[in-house]
């Protein structure tokens, strides 16, 4: 109870405070402090849930079960490490004149607010609030993406806003349909949008309505997840915003949107006896993986490259959740975790690399390992990890997903094989010369923040070799919940 309030309150308060005081040198530290506070609160909340089991508080408004608490902890953690990274990064940006004090004020306030909306989306029990929070997350990130006010960033932000706005409007329609179906059973009072209540009666929900509702919800939230063909905003937004924002977009927002999809899927699965929802998710997931893999090979901008890689990985997770079952769900959850950690680590490294070379174009980035071994190795290892090279955790989840697919959905494996191969070729052929080769670089005015990169990668490495029992239990319970 108090933990939930803390988890939500700290970022909200931080946001207001940062907005109120304006940009001071201390703002970045306040940002870090608020993120740290959130993380601590989330950790305490996690500990509480792990020991006491799920909780349902504040007039059933908030609900914490193993599924979302793990995402809360992850979100708070990556939010914290990103704030660590963003301090030197934004300082360098400011010194290079890309942002001014007013923008930094906006940046810090919105950063905290964005964290707040994501945590709210995760913690709420109300499908309506979930929608509201996701829409709010879109709004805050639109402002973050357009922070530089360059033509490209405006274009990206505009597309992001319109596409996600429209997309998420479909999700609202889906939510209304859900409400429409549930209201008959639960009454028009607040209960009909509460996930816990819906979950209890899901088998009695009207299948026709639910299947249509799921289409709207999937198209809606799927836009935010970045499922092909709804993904078009994603690379633009990732590439044009400040790198810390790209990191949280890729690492966190996509996860939260996928969380919403999965929550809906659980209800629909309960209501519809056929494999309708499964097939839909598998189809979208597979399409995303394949299309993203091919698009990867056409990239010239390093951040766009990794944005497409996020689409690919979200496709894999969606596919896994689509398959369902204990192993696939477990793998999907693991993949969400490791993808978010790895991808944000990559963006941290990429951020410093682009600052060091002054360009986001990959042709201009060369020989990082020679000029700046930490950044170069960070990028190299991160890339290998995200490409599913053992012993990193991404491989662990891909292992489970692929072997399960081979058993349950053998038709899908050729696509996965081709897509993973193409993606590997595309990404690695581009990252290799950036890390290796003849160096091109200038000095950075501040020391890069590489600790977050290596902390993330270390965790990912650990997850590939050894998943702590408590985490494993946690995944198992969550996988069970997803069904």
């Amino acid at each position: 109870m108090i933990e939930i309030l803390a988890v939500l309150g700290i970022p909200l308060a931080g946001s207001l405070a940062l907005a109120a005081v304006g940009h001071r040198p201390v703002a970045a530290s306040v940002n870090i402090a608020a993120s740290l506070g959130t993380f601590v609160a989330a950790a305490v909340l996690t500990a509480r849930v792990v020991t006491d089991g799920p909780m349902l508080v504040l007039d059933k408004l908030f609900f914490v079960d193993p599924f979302n608490v793990f995402l809360v902890a992850l979100t708070a953690f990556v939010g914290f490490t990103t704030s660590l990274f963003s301090r030197p990064y934004m300082r360098i940006e400011r010194e290079r004149g890309k942002v001014d004090a007013a923008r930094l004020r906006l940046y810090h306030a919105m950063y905290q607010l964005f964290n707040f909306t994501m945590l709210l989306a995760l913690l709420t029990n109300n499908m309506g609030i979930l929608w509201v929070a996701l829409e709010a997350a879109t709004l805050t990130t639109v402002l973050l993406v357009s922070l530089y006010r360059t033509p490209a960033s405006l274009e990206a932000a505009w597309k992001y806003f319109i596409l996600c706005g429209v997309g998420i409007a479909q999700a609202l329609f889906g939510t209304i349909l859900l409400f429409f179906a549930a209201e008959k059973l639960l009454g028009a009072g607040g209960g009909a949008l509460l996930w816990t209540e819906l979950d209890a009666v899901k088998s009695q929900l009207e299948p026709t309505v639910l299947s249509i509702a799921f289409v709207f919800l999937l198209v809606g939230y799927g836009t935010k997840v970045g499922l092909v063909p709804l993904h078009n905003w994603l690379p633009d937004a990732h590439a044009e915003g400040p790198t810390p924002v790209s990191a949280v977009l890729s690492g966190l927002l996509l996860n939260v949107a996928l969380y919403a999809v999965v929550r809906c899927k659980v209800l629909v699965e309960g209501a519809i006896p056929t494999a309708f929802a499964k097939n839909l998710m598998m189809g979208f997931g597979l399409l995303s993986v394949v299309v993203a893999a091919f698009l990867l090979s056409r990239q010239k901008d390093v951040k766009r490259l990794f944005a497409y890689s996020s689409i690919e990985h979200m496709g894999i997770v969606t596919f896994a959740f689509g398959m369902g079952g204990a192993v696939a769900n477990f793998a999907g959850l693991l993949h969400m975790t490791v993808h978010s950690l790895t991808k944000s680590a990559i963006f941290f490294a990429v951020g410093h690399a682009t600052q060091k070379t002054g360009t986001q174009l990959m042709d201009g980035i060369r020989g990082l390992i020679t000029t700046s071994p930490v950044i170069g190795w960070g990028l190299m290892i991160g890339t290998l990890a995200i490409l599913g090279m053992p012993p990193f955790g991404v491989f662990a989840s891909e292992f489970l997903i692929l072997t399960t697919a081979m058993r349950e959905q053998p038709w899908a494996t050729p696509f996965l094989l081709v897509a993973l191969g193409v993606a590997f070729a595309a990404v690695f052929s581009k990252v290799q010369p950036m890390a290796f080769g003849e160096p091109v670089a200038e000095r950075l005015p501040h020391r890069p923040a590489m600790i977050p990169v290596f902390v993330h990668l270390a965790i990912v490495l650990m997850l590939g070799l050894w998943i702590p029992p408590f985490l494993a239990d946690w995944y198992r319970q969550a996988a069970q919940l997803i069904g």
């Binding site: 929608w131 509201v132 639109v142 405006l154 429209v166 609202l172 329609f173 429409f180 309505v209 044009e240």
Partner: protein, 222 residues
């Protein structure tokens, strides 16, 4: 149908009006008229919400109706008007597809939406269930409008009109969502429009125009 209570008949009437307004917006070429139509749609929405509240005794819907009235009939159109005046936008709104074709596609969409909604409507407990199809049609028509418009402001109006359709679905088909959700949605819409307003200025500052053709630089195809 004869047994339908009077208020329900009114609602159906307003629903038809909403649909008509959606078509009108789809066909409208001038920005200011578009805003007027949007305001009219808001008014119809507020009225229908109030009638539902009256007819079913769902008192929180009065709040919704009031909120709609303030937000969609006064506040948003006012903001848009101000924006247009400040931005000094040209009057005509070019579409990507010509109007008759758009209308034809619109009709097809309406048929599709009705067909889709028909089986669902049968299940509803509310008297105004038939309106679900209209709400869905409104959403789709707004979607179509967003697709066919080349300028930023009409696109945003399309977006808002879609919100109207959704809201109509929420009130008429289900007697309204819980209040806290509705407040949240309203807040989001408002903030969204404000942000978009800021955006218009920035876009115009950068591109000297609100034409979306300038926003086509980020792409993959050659």
């Amino acid at each position: 149908m004869a047994t339908l209570p009077l208020y329900a008949q009114f609602i159906n009437l307003l629903a038809a009006l909403l649909l008509l307004l959606s078509f009108a917006m789809l066909a409208q070429r001038r920005v200011l008229s578009l805003i007027d139509l949007f305001a009219a749609q808001g008014l119809a929405l507020a009225a229908s919400t109030a009638i539902v509240a009256y007819g079913t005794g769902q008192h929180h819907l009065y709040w919704s109706a009031g909120l709609t009235l303030i937000l969609k009939v006064f506040l948003l159109p006012w903001i848009l008007y101000r924006l247009i005046r400040k931005l000094d936008v040209k009057w005509d709104v070019e579409g990507l597809i010509n109007v008759p074709t758009t209308m034809l596609i619109g009709i097809v969409l309406v048929v599709f939406a009705f067909n889709l909604a028909a089986p669902i409507s049968q299940l509803a407990s509310t008297v105004t269930r038939a309106t679900l199809g209209i709400a869905m049609a409104c959403v789709m028509l707004s979607f179509l409008m967003m697709i066919t418009r080349r300028k930023a402001i009409p696109q945003v109006i399309g977006f808002l009109s879609m919100e109207n359709g959704l809201f109509f679905a929420a009130t008429s088909a289900t007697y309204g969502m819980p209040m806290v959700v509705e407040l949240g949605i309203a807040l989001d819409v408002l903030v969204g429009v404000l942000i978009l307003g800021v955006f218009f200025f920035q876009i115009r500052e950068q591109f000297d125009s609100l034409d979306l053709r300038h926003l086509e630089k980020l792409k993959e195809g050659e």
